[in-house]
């Protein structure tokens, strides 16, 4: 399955069969009543779903434009939307008889969510993390260890998220018989982008229902940050058929537009093939993948999910970038007006939503996916405010 020309399965031959096994199991289970019930049970009682759709009254009044709603994924267990996907995939892995989970993590959020889901189901969890990220994110490394996971530092390449993914793929090529690769975003070879999207779509499904109850209407715009793009796809997807709803993805503009200074793959990258998918990547003329930067560690990835590439190509969604400084400003703004610390990733979406709301009418509605909480970013913010 592809999204237009995007996506696909660009992997070494060894991984074709494990992907087929996953695809087959997922296809069989996704509408299976028992599986759905189990998933719903854990989403409700373990993760804390449904999350509120919160009307940001103070912020709305301060801006004086469109009504701003926040989808409160930050309230979830683990502090971010990541758990929606890890519970789903861990259950799937259990059905497939896999006893070990492997995952990549950049900032550590997905690693933590994988550790939680794995421990819940009694599985061995090994998390690959770039050696540089291990150094930068000591607290999350410690959290993963407390949750029973092993953290394996990755010394190859640029020692960050993309190299962690490479290393998981290498591990999987020899361990797939008993191991599930629990990918953390809507990236990678098929069926991962579609499967992770399905698990994350609960965000948008709830949002739509909640807003119809509160306002009796659809939103005018939905805004979400995009690294790999899982929280954005999750909230966008149920609105794709509602043509009146603007879908806006916000990438990390970082420190500037030079290569290595940002992570805006859709805004600044070009088509390429890596991590099993055809999508947009930040790269040089020879196809060597470039370095990235963002103040938000979760956006620090040189590629993007293939469905986003497709949304951009078909103009169903718009993509733009917000820089480190604006994101930081939005982080402080929400903290002071609403008493909510947003994740720096989500602050990118928030910054754009604030700009947008200013230009919109008072009876219009903007929904922001507040994909995670900002407690994890205290050190970064402290450093930036010095």
């Amino acid at each position: 399955m592809k999204f237009g020309e995007f996506g696909g399965q660009f992997v070494p031959e060894i991984l074709i069969q494990p992907l087929r096994e996953l695809q087959g199991t997922y296809r069989r289970l996704k509408d299976d009543i028992e599986f759905r019930e189990k998933l719903d049970y854990y989403l409700k009682n373990f993760a804390g779903r449904p999350t509120p759709l919160y009307f940001a009254k103070n912020l709305t009044e301060k801006i004086g434009g469109a009504r701003i709603y926040l989808k409160r994924e930050d309230i979830l267990h683990g502090g971010a939307h990541k758990i929606n996907n890890t519970i789903g995939q861990a259950l799937l892995a259990d059905y497939m008889g896999k006893v070990r989970l492997i995952a990549e993590t950049g900032a550590g959020q997905h690693g933590v969510a994988t550790a939680m889901a794995g421990t819940l189901l009694g599985m061995k969890v090994d998390v690959y993390m770039g050696a540089e990220d291990v150094e930068r994110q000591k607290m999350n490394v410690f959290r993963m260890k407390l949750l029973g996971a092993e953290v394996i530092p990755v010394d190859s390449g640029s020692k960050t998220l993309k190299d962690a993914i490479n290393e998981v793929l290498r591990d999987w090529a020899s361990s797939f018989e008993y191991t599930h690769y629990l990918i953390g975003s809507v990236v990678g070879p098929h069926p991962y982008p579609a499967m992770v999207r399905d698990f994350q779509s609960v965000i948008g499904i709830e949002t739509k229902k909640q807003l119809l109850e509160i306002e009796g209407s659809l939103p005018d715009a939905v805004v979400a940050c995009v690294g790999g793009g899982s929280n954005a796809i999750g909230i966008f997807h149920p609105f794709v058929g509602d043509r009146s709803v603007r879908l806006i993805g916000v990438e990390a503009g970082g420190k500037g537009m030079g290569i290595g200074q940002h992570s805006a793959s859709l805004c600044m990258g070009r088509k390429g093939v890596m991590h099993g998918m055809l999508s947009y990547f930040l790269q040089d003329e020879d196809g060597q993948i470039a370095g990235t930067h963002s103040i938000a560690p979760g956006l620090d990835y040189p590629g993007v999910g293939p469905e986003h590439a497709w949304f951009r190509e078909t103009e169903r969604a718009e993509y733009t970038a917000i820089g480190d400084k604006q994101a930081l400003k939005a982080y402080l703004e929400l903290s002071r007006t609403e008493g909510i610390l947003p994740a720096l990733e989500s602050a990118h979406a928030l910054a754009l939503a604030i700009e947008l709301a200013e230009e919109m009418e008072k009876d219009e509605i903007v929904v922001v996916n507040l994909s995670g909480r900002g407690d994890k970013d205290l050190e970064i913010v402290m450093g930036a405010l010095k």
Binding site: V11, P12, E13, G157, S158, R170, A173, D286, G287
Partner: protein, 250 residues
Amino acid sequence: MIHRPALITYITAGDPDLNATLNFMLTLDKYADVIELGIPFSDPVMDGKTIQKANIRALESGTGVQNVLGIVEEFRKFSDTPVVLMSYYNPIYVRGIEKFVRDAKEAGVDGMVIADLPVEEAKAYLDVCGMYEMATIFFAAPNTPMERLKTIDEISSAFVYLVSAYGTTGIRQDVSKLAFYLIRRARKICKKPLAVGFGISKPEHVSELIKAGADGIVVGSALVEIIERYAKNATVKIENKLRELKLAMK
């Protein structure tokens, strides 16, 4: 392209630099039936530590796709031994499949093998290779089903590259049983020559596999490891290694 028993030797282009690569190729040429030349890539997911490090060394020495083609052109002044480019798909895709294959052909490349391009994604590439008479080589793995083996055989014009075990490239103590099972299955259904690679470093590996029915052996990490250790001065050690392996083929 290959006749039993064939020795196929892999090195990464530009490791430790381009001049050294040309020298190494001339050394390989004395023993090898095919020279497989790796295009360095920033994210080599199919490769183990040894070749990963070679990729980094090559990129750090400034090796780009154009340089690799230049080396082949240079090599062609001395030898007509077949050269096969081994690449990840992105450098090919980004250059444009047709431009890449045409340029490679003009430089004197005989065939190509791509680490992360499975059958399903290969249509455009196959069309172009057909057009420019570029020989194609595809991987088959121990878990590749029969039906798929057949397809892989059909689209591989030069030979089928059998992956000896699960995991990545890199030296292994012994040849996995999986390699023998795969050779047995492939022998049943494949019409093209079969070359076995991944983890092969010792003479006994080579003789076991040839005896089991392999038409060719691919040696990579064992050579790259020598280059890692001795850098530009690796030629003598490479030659010793190749002599040893070649002897085991008889």
